[in-house]
Symmetry: C2
Amino acid sequence: MPRSSIRRLFTSAFALSSEGVKVYGLHIGDPDFDMPQRIADGVSDAIAAGHTHYSPMAGIPALRDAIVSHRQRRMGIEIPRNRVIVSQGATQALNSSLQLCVDSGQRVLFPMIYFPNYIQQSTLAGVEVDPYELDESFQPVLEKLEQQVTPDTRAMLINTPSNPTGVLFPPETVRALYDFARRHNLWVISDEAYSDFVYRGEYLSPLSIDWEYPEEERRVIAVYSFSKSYAATGLRMGYMLAPNDSAAFRLELMNEPLTGSLTTPLQYAMVRALEVDDTAERRDALLERWQLAGELLAGCGLKFASPDGGLFYFIDISPTGMDGDTFADRLLAEEHVAVVPGSGFGLVGSRDAAGTLAFTPNALAARCVRVSFAAPRADMEEGVKRLVAFIRRNS
Amino acid sequence: MPRSSIRRLFTSAFALSSEGVKVYGLHIGDPDFDMPQRIADGVSDAIAAGHTHYSPMAGIPALRDAIVSHRQRRMGIEIPRNRVIVSQGATQALNSSLQLCVDSGQRVLFPMIYFPNYIQQSTLAGVEVDPYELDESFQPVLEKLEQQVTPDTRAMLINTPSNPTGVLFPPETVRALYDFARRHNLWVISDEAYSDFVYRGEYLSPLSIDWEYPEEERRVIAVYSFSKSYAATGLRMGYMLAPNDSAAFRLELMNEPLTGSLTTPLQYAMVRALEVDDTAERRDALLERWQLAGELLAGCGLKFASPDGGLFYFIDISPTGMDGDTFADRLLAEEHVAVVPGSGFGLVGSRDAAGTLAFTPNALAARCVRVSFAAPRADMEEGVKRLVAFIRRNS
């Protein structure tokens, strides 16, 4: 199983700052926002009320109900409560979804630039991965999709807005991907962790399309996270929405070996989180940083796909003559700015003659770096200025 | 993947109590103890201090240090901090340990009566399970072990005191199991979730034996839980101890796809938990219930292996002419007492001609029920009295 390149940079950046050096952390996908007080109170109140024991496998009823209402307000669809399965963060939800849809030895389609957890989970599950091609703007090359389907392909992963590229797939692209999955009878795992952070363009969820069809034809497992939406990354809360009773039953069942049971007081806190829809406050704060970072980056002289959402710029820095790993290492050493090499977001597995699995980055990923604009504003501004100066000096 | 028989009885018992019927819950492995106030304060203080963001993959340093000190006091061994990997409960620790030791298609040895999560996790990982035989007292039949090893066997699971049988393996048995694993170069996964709850006999941890050998020969991954020891089942905290740097590195790496990151404020709370060693208070309270349940059960007229630790009596009720499932269903319907059928603790997987995996209980498990003495004392007393009357009426 490959190590995520995010972790490698975390370790180097941490080592440098441990020496007393001020490091500008553009590697972290965790905004510096304080968790809302009502969520903090929700944890304390739950514990004071004795909610410190096991909870039902799919989550406490109050939270599942709150999620039903929340999705109704957001998307205008009425998800039955039994289809809502609470998870320990989107990470576990993605793992459960993959385990549900794809058996060992079968295949899943990922975008060629993707969140590293996907490949780690696939490797653990013995699932084979086929990356679907993205163009220079990180949009799917739709006409090449057909040739990537095999008789063993079972699922397709869609992540819009994307971590790490930040791009939003336009509605017609989401619809084309959905139709493709439908034509080949594939599950769709829709990672919507960043759906509350769209700064421009029209957001269409694959789940909305799924609900245009009768229930027996639905295929989307949608995955959501409380982490960024409610400034609660350290609480590890998320959920999945299942398209039918059978999938819901199996996802609930899988919570048993994967979680034992969910964290009980934190679920009560998430009921409080959903009582106020204040996610736009955090989106607006990030939108401002996104704009500032974009303005500064425009001065670097490189062409790159500007993100529409999420927390990151994903920049092709190949005109500097460096690959992403070298660039990130030198940027940290010379400018004390931490960014994440793109390589870890595009690893491709292959087996040698002895059957040993090894991972190498694809060419697109290898020439990029991921730059977060979620850092505190002053740090972000100084970090991006240093990044721009470093690029200009090396172009 | 099989559904746990614990969950089936939970559902039936919950349905009955939802009708307003008083149910005596001897099915729940979660003592009614209040979580210590210092742990509650630990959560609130951590949140107030802003510890609501991501934490390091293997856990916060303060908790890993506290675990090192705790194990030093308990076992007299000095585990290097990098070998301590915090987990989301023992459940995730067991899953990570299995994934580390055994690849898809390889084999693991379990006791023939075991905690259901093991088989669910093995099934998800594509790992084949060979149950090792237990006698009528739930002790391993050592002379039969050799014939169960194949060239693909990679690990052996030891769980003493056991969930569900409650029996403690005597030191010479633990040593024999360890020597066997050593002879065949197997990993040992040691589930020590109940090691703070021993009521009689001498407890020997496989980890203690492992430390008699030089590091390069060590093979034990020991798994611990805060759940019962600190009355914090709903907080989902546990940890693993790795025998060497390589295993530690890989277990830390696996936390990434399995947890995303650990729950941050709850880790700070567990530092507080370990500041006071008050686990004996809870052990003593349970010891009293264990004694009372034992005295009452002596009147049922059946012979059964009395537990030495843990939370359960595991009773062969076959003289009633019923199997465990029928017994549990009738006991709930007639006496409103919930116990868990033994069947789910001894499922054996087999494939039909089409390769479909199905699970059936082994004969020993099928004729037992698991009776918890962790329920509130008055409920437990009345429940066990009703259970005894039911057995006597049907023998």
